[in-house]
């Protein structure tokens, strides 16, 4: 799909003129974002450009001071991450958002636990641990995180890379509308990063759109359909990786080059 084609479609998720201030710091300064069906939208930008704040606003973790968010064209107001999840938006946060002392299974199903069927689930509200463990193991296997020997291991006993893998698996498993990932490969090794990238592509092939924040240009140019360049708290422009080189993207991102006419936000 070309730039034209995309703009004719209705965005799945759209942010308009979001503003978020932290005291004297303006982390988002009328930031926009559009995510179209079935695409991988990469978001790049300097450290502190406000990328995480933007996607936190989209996932309900931060309530913007101004601006609006539209899901399938309808305005939504997320007051908590639960709202966003309820609407089908799953997020891998930069901080991972795991409870260290709980098991991998517990963490994966946090807030959407499965109950046993029948009396025990309905009245005794008993969890279906076996089922949850099964699903969790499947999801991790898909990601190739075979080395986790014990699905009931506490998350705090995993290495940083393994933790990130669990967080990614969780989002990929439960997202029904949009998956957002904030630097999902930052702590990962070469092999593990590759697996996550493959997973991202696979999620897209299931038709689900993805927002991917990354500082890794080769990764971004490899998987992204469009690249949203964030600068100074707002969108500088959106480019297609086929039309621009990495150098251009980096130049725009750092301000060395003005965003190309016509496609600037």
């Amino acid at each position: 799909m070309d730039q034209k084609g995309v703009s004719l479609m209705e965005p799945v998720l759209r942010a308009r003129k979001l503003v978020k201030r932290y005291g004297r710091v303006v982390a988002m300064d009328r930031a926009d974002l559009e995510l179209f069906p079935g695409e991988i939208l990469a978001v790049i930008g300097d450290n502190g450009a406000g990328k995480s704040t933007l996607i936190k606003a989209l996932s309900g973790a931060v309530i913007p001071d101004e601006g609006e968010i539209l899901l399938d064209g309808k305005p939504v107001q997320f007051t908590s991450p639960i709202d966003a999840r309820g609407a089908g938006i799953e997020t891998v946060y930069q901080t991972l958002a795991m409870s260290p002392a709980l098991s991998i299974t517990d963490n994966m199903f946090m807030g959407r636990e499965l109950r046993k069927p029948g009396f025990r689930g309905k009245w005794l509200r008993q969890l279906d641990r076996k089922k949850m463990e099964e699903v969790a193991r499947d999801k991790l296997n898909e990601l190739g995180l075979l080395t986790i020997q014990n699905i009931n291991q506490a998350v705090e006993t995993l290495s940083g890379g393994q933790r990130q893998g669990v967080a990614v698996a969780r989002a990929a498993a439960f997202g029904s509308k949009v998956v957002i990932m904030d630097e999902p490969t930052a702590a990962l090794g070469v092999k593990e990063s590759r697996r996550v990238l493959e997973l991202i592509k696979e999620v897209r092939s299931r038709g689900m759109p993805i927002v991917l924040i990354s500082h890794n240009m080769p990764h971004v140019f490899e998987v992204a359909d469009r690249i949203h360049i964030h600068r100074l708290g707002q969108r500088a422009c959106v480019i297609k990786p086929s039309d621009f080189s990495m150098s251009d993207a980096v130049a725009i991102m750092t301000g060395a080059m003005d965003p190309p006419e016509g496609i600037a936000a």
Partner: protein
């Protein structure tokens, strides 16, 4: 590396080896096996075993020192009876501490609830059932206030419950006019208030309903914390509230529910207290907060939240009970007992820490 790439491209060339390599990542072999390891592993998996071991050891030691005086059915059921109130309150305290909170107002809520039960029956002439209901509601409401201030106003639990402690206690004195309702009157007009004091024969041993209630309560809580979503959320909130929120836990709701539950359990403790001492006295429960926290900590629950088991708390309370009775039967006088209990607290936690360390 000089050509400028304009097209989206595949994996970098150096990644080609990835497909051919073994797919297992660094998995280390466990070189050490055997008995010791297994024990360590079990201890690590079941943290409440540590206080259980301490408990059994202390029972054995006092049994050897005191003989039948200690190993009599009377003395052993006595420990249970002496521990029941602290045990119930400590169960409430456990749940709060699991969320990385603390509830200093447990004793005050307990006594206010029992006073409400008593005064509603005797001052206003309500049927005992209604009065007890009012007492339970009163405790839950106090808990709700704590929870509201902690969850919504985001004040530190220590300070909220410190303030509530004073407020509830003063309310208790003002409302009760410092009057005790006598046991004889209660037995005559509203025996239901003393329900938890009734005795029952379970397989030869005599228990009060209060003791049974304590055990059942702990088991139910252990089930709820371990087997339900709510329980998992309690742990998650205590572990890292920010992460819990981001991963879809309704942190505020969980906190409110925990403090309300704590209030409700304390109200039950107030009812059990009437059963235990017979009368309704506004001066009871002054040490319940310190004693319950002691039981919780000896039971191995971390004051930083998220780690430990409510079963441990029960053992913790029993350990203190065993030591207190044992030392008193050995003839230590009150101040020496306090001194030794102080040492016990430190020693119990040190042993716990040590076992955890060798069994990482």
């Amino acid at each position: 590396m000089t050509s400028d790439t304009k097209t989206a491209n595949g994996p970098a060339d150096y990644e080609s080896a990835l497909t051919s390599g073994p797919q297992a990542v660094a998995a280390f072999d466990d070189h050490r096996h055997g008995w010791g390891q297994k024990i360590q592993h079990t201890l690590h998996q079941t943290p409440s075993l540590v206080p259980l071991i301490v408990l059994v050891l202390s029972v054995i030691v006092f049994g050897l020192l005191l003989g039948t005086k200690f190993f009599s059915p009377f003395a052993l059921t006595l420990i249970l009876q002496q521990v029941q109130i602290v045990g119930i309150v400590a169960a409430a305290q456990s749940v709060v501490i699991l969320t990385a909170g603390i509830d200093l107002s447990v004793g005050a809520i307990m006594v206010l609830s029992s006073v409400v039960m008593g005064q509603f029956t005797f001052r206003y002439g309500l049927p005992a059932e209604l009065a007890i209901g009012a007492g339970l509601i009163c405790g839950t409401l106090c808990g709700y206030l704590n929870g509201f201030l902690v969850a919504f106003v985001k004040l530190p639990p220590f300070i909220v419950t410190l303030g509530m402690w004073q407020i509830v206690l003063a309310t208790n004195f003002l409302y009760s006019a410092n009057e005790t309702i006598r046991s004889q009157d209660i037995a005559e007009h509203a025996p239901l208030l003393q329900f938890f004091g009734s005795k029952v024969n379970v397989g030869g041993a005599i228990f009060t309903y209060g003791v049974i209630f304590m055990v059942v309560l702990v088991l139910v809580l252990a089930y709820a914390l371990r087997q339900t979503a709510w329980g998992r959320h309690v742990y998650a909130v205590g572990d890292d509230p920010e992460a819990a929120k981001l991963s879809g836990v309704q942190v505020k709701k969980v906190l409110i529910s925990v403090y309300m539950l704590s209030g409700l359990i304390c109200a039950f403790a107030g009812w059990a207290m009437i059963g235990r001492i017979g009368s309704v006295s506004p001066t009871t429960g002054q040490l319940a907060n310190i004693e319950s926290i002691t039981a919780v900590v000896i039971g191995g629950i971390s004051l930083f939240g998220g780690r430990g088991s409510v079963l441990g708390t029960l053992f913790g309370a029993l350990i203190v009970g065993v030591f207190t009775l044992g030392l008193r039967l050995l003839g230590a006088d009150a101040q020496w007992t306090y001194l030794l209990i102080g040492l016990l607290i430190i020693a119990a936690v040190a042993v716990d820490q040590w076992i955890r360390k060798v069994s990482v």
